[in-house]
């Protein structure tokens, strides 16, 4: 089982849209068994998949191991793709984890019983850097980091890289440009800067597209309603690039 996470310190960069599309592509294109864990109290990923944002007993009992994680999982509309829904109680997840021993290892140990059931687990993380994200860093094999080509967004990537190095966390970082709008001179300038190579971005970037915004209306991944669009094609290429990278890393 490979564990991935869509993560960014910054909000509004397209983490959830990425998580939803990649999880769908892994299941639909590759026939993999995928679990998407919606860690965000906003529960947008659960909304996209038409699953009620509700955890029986709340998140505290879940992370304490008092409720069975498997019983909380819901199947989505798509074969091979399940979701552990978000819940408003995730807003207290930092506190709940802090109250447990070795909080940074908690998510990894909760996933162990699922190792035989899924090929991929994908965390959709809330923005911020906290105990929750520390726990995700230690549970994940790779962090998929959407970055908008703006100075502030790039800065958060540099911050994250420094933090991981300092904390000696062994996780592969897979940043990629998202919501790229080549009509904007700022986006073009940043993408063409000679320092680009230092950022070690993935080759695929996701263009800004109103089709991505329509996902909330259609409540489905792009490939289900806008298969032929550039955004949908870019997500397909992004998944293959990520898959090639993670297939060679150990679980």
């Amino acid at each position: 089982m490979k564990t991935l996470a869509t993560y960014s310190i910054k909000g509004g960069v397209g983490k959830t849209a990425t998580a939803v599309n990649l999880a769908y592509l892994a299941a639909a294109q590759q026939g993999a068994r995928v679990l998407l864990w919606d860690l965000d109290p906003q529960a947008a990923a659960s909304y996209y998949f038409r699953v009620k944002p509700k955890l029986k007993g709340g998140v505290r009992k879940l992370v304490a191991g008092k409720t069975d994680l498997g019983d909380q999982i819901k199947g989505t509309d798509f074969e091979g793709l399940d979701i552990l829904p978000g819940d408003f109680s995730y807003r207290h997840l930092d506190l709940d984890l802090d109250g447990l021993g070795k909080p940074e290892k908690r998510l990894r140990s909760l996933l162990e019983p699922l190792a035989e059931q899924y090929d991929y687990v994908l965390f959709d993380c809330p923005p911020s850097i906290s105990i929750v994200s520390e726990s995700v860093f230690r549970a994940a094999d790779a962090l998929i980091v959407p970055v908008i080509p703006t100075p502030l967004s790039i800065r958060t990537l540099t911050q994250l890289r420094k933090h991981l190095k300092k904390s000696k966390v062994d996780v592969t970082l897979l940043p990629f440009y998202c919501m790229v709008d080549r009509r904007k001179s700022l986006h073009r300038e940043l993408l063409e800067q000679p320092e680009q190579s230092k950022l070690k971005m993935l080759e695929t970037s996701i263009p800004y597209s109103t089709w991505v915004e329509r996902m909330g209306l259609e409540r489905a991944p792009l490939a289900e309603f806008a298969r032929a669009t550039e955004a949908a094609r870019s997500y397909r290429e992004l998944w293959w690039e990520i898959w090639e990278r993670v297939a060679t890393t150990a679980s």
Binding site: I73, G75, D77, D82, E116
Partner: protein, 533 residues
């Protein structure tokens, strides 16, 4: 929760019924009825209908089926899935691209699918067990928020060569976390469609409808005989089952679909001959003499091909016995054996489709199905079967003990061969009549099998050694072997000799195992109540 399968149109049947009219598709629309029963809680969203030509594959003896696996091929890919009888903890569902129908496991691309199949199938040929056309209509059951809460599909199947489509099969697949709607749909299916629940897959049902019920092949006799039945009836039942096995294997042996067809055919012939010659005074002597001769003739004619099959199957192992730089020197031997096998296969094909074979098997069947004599006849014909079985087993047991105890380290090899033949006969009789004998047969047979295995290895080694010498002579004469090849073949002889000596060294211990007082007591119980003849 596991998927549920329902057979609709039960009256139409999944097995070809020659009396039912060759009518068209069933007219009733089960989806409409089901939608009505689910309204307004759930609605059905129909997806695209797919149609594909599928071939179900398995070895001649259903090894995949027995292991709880199902291999299908169609539309450029092969798929392996676990079935309801799978002992595996985790379900398997793997596909691989295969442009052509795979014949052996090596025809499958390397990967997980091949890894799952290889230990089960080994070198056996993958045979098409059923060829059918499947139409599948996928559907989703949506709740009031348009969330998929149950998945399903409706399949209809047409067997190649059969005009009438088979009945339809509805499958419901639970969606994790939505148990209640699954139960609602299940109840609606039951009440609206009045179906039959089945655990069998479409492949299983198609194979059954094609006249090849999965797992239907076995060389076990599985006969439940009664000790009190007349001996000629019991013996005819044994011979009848053996003749079934012979006939089941005729086509595969003739077409060389898998070497095991010929093997099973030959074993069934040998068992038939043993039952003829060792169960005495039950059939008229003239019948015994006639069919003994006829079955022996057939048995001996197919022997050379079987010998070549055995040698060719063992050749990779023999290659490992010679020095590494001589391995390739055995290639001409393989070519020689394959050419000979090809010629021998033609002979066997002609033989098995020939008039004499048909006559032998036809007249044998005619005799076995004929009326039993109501008076007179051979001396033991109307004696209770249990008694006849015990008398013949006692005679063979005595002979085995007598021959076995006379063998020591100085005894020439042919004596061991003769003992092996007697043991085989004794084992066959115990197998034929185990249902009329006490349970001690089971434990006794285990010791007998161990001894038989040692003697079998010993004799096989002697035979293979003789074959190598004979092939070397023939290849030297026809110029198909270089000196290097002859030298490589020569390297095998001391290896066979070492193995022969090793196996012979085990004989004493194995025979002592068989002739322990426990086993003698067991045999006394098996043979209890026989009056002197």
């Amino acid at each position: 929760m596991e998927p549920l399968h329902f057979l609709l149109d039960e009256t139409r049947g999944w097995v070809e019924d020659p009396d039912s009219p060759a009518d068209s598709e069933p007219t009733e629309d089960p989806i409409a009825k089901l939608a009505e029963a689910l309204n307004p809680k759930l609605r059905i969203d129909l997806r695209a209908e797919t149609e594909e030509q599928v071939v179900a594959l398995d070895s001649f003896d259903w090894r995949l089926f027995q292991a709880g696996l199902e291999l299908t091929a169609g539309d450029g890919r092969s798929r392996i899935q676990t079935t309801s009888r799978s002992p595996r903890k985790e379900a398997v569902d793997l596909t691989a691209e295969t442009e052509q129908l795979p014949t052996f496991v090596n025809d499958l691309p390397s990967g997980k699918l091949r890894e799952v199949i290889t230990p089960v199938i080994g070198q056996r040929r993958l045979l098409p067990m059923a060829s059918f056309r499947r139409r599948r209509l996928s559907m989703r059951f949506l709740d009031l928020r348009d969330k998929t809460v149950v998945r399903g599909y409706l399949e209809s199947v047409s067997i190649e060569g059969q005009k009438k489509p088979l009945g339809r099969r509805l499958t419901l697949i639970p969606v994790r976390g939505y148990k209640r709607p699954f139960n609602d749909v299940r109840k609606a299916v039951v009440s609206a469609l009045n179906p039959t629940v089945t655990e069998q897959s479409v492949s299983f049902l198609a194979c059954t409808a094609s006249g090849r019920p999965p797992g239907g092949y076995t060389t076990r006799l599985d006969l439940q005989l009664h000790g009190e039945m007349r001996a000629d009836l019991g013996l005819r039942l044994v011979h009848g089952r053996l003749l079934d096995i012979i006939e089941e294997n005729l086509y595969g042996a003739r077409e060389s679909l898998d070497t095991e067809f010929l093997h099973d055919l030959r074993v069934a012939l040998r068992r038939s001959r043993t039952a003829l010659s060792q169960v005495r005074g039950v059939y008229p002597q003239v019948t015994v003499d006639h069919f003994k001769g006829e079955l022996r003739w057939l048995f001996r004619r197919i022997g050379p091909l079987r010998d070549l099959d055995v040698f060719l199957e063992a050749l990779p192992e023999y290659r490992a016995l010679v020095a590494p730089d001589s391995t390739r020197d055995l290639d001409p031997l393989q070519d020689f054996l394959e050419a000979r096998r090809h010629a021998e296969q033609q002979t066997v094909r002609d033989l098995l489709s020939g008039r004499r074979t048909r006559q032998i098997l036809g007249s044998w069947r005619h005799f076995l199905d004929s009326e039993l004599p109501t008076s007179g006849g051979p001396p033991m014909a109307r004696t209770p079967l249990g008694r006849v079985a015990r008398i013949d087993i006692a005679r063979l047991w005595k002979r085995v003990l007598h021959r076995g105890t006379r063998i020591d380290r100085a005894t020439p090899d042919p004596a061991l061969h003769e003992l092996r033949v007697e043991i085989k006969k004794l084992r066959y009789l115990l197998e034929f009549f185990h249902s009329v004998l006490p349970p001690e047969v089971r434990e006794f047979s285990k010791s007998l099998k161990r001894l038989q295995s040692t003697l079998g290895n010993f004799v096989d080694t002697v035979v293979q050694q003789r074959h190598v010498e004979q092939f070397a002579t023939e290849m030297a004469m026809d110029g198909s072997a270089s000196p290097q090849t002859l030298l490589a073949m020569g390297q095998l002889i001391p290896q066979f000799e070492a193995r022969r000596i090793e196996e012979r060294g085990h004989f004493e211990e194995r025979f002592a195992d068989l002739s322990t007082s426990e086993n003698r007591d067991r045999m006394d119980k098996i043979l209890a109540d026989i009056q002197p003849r």
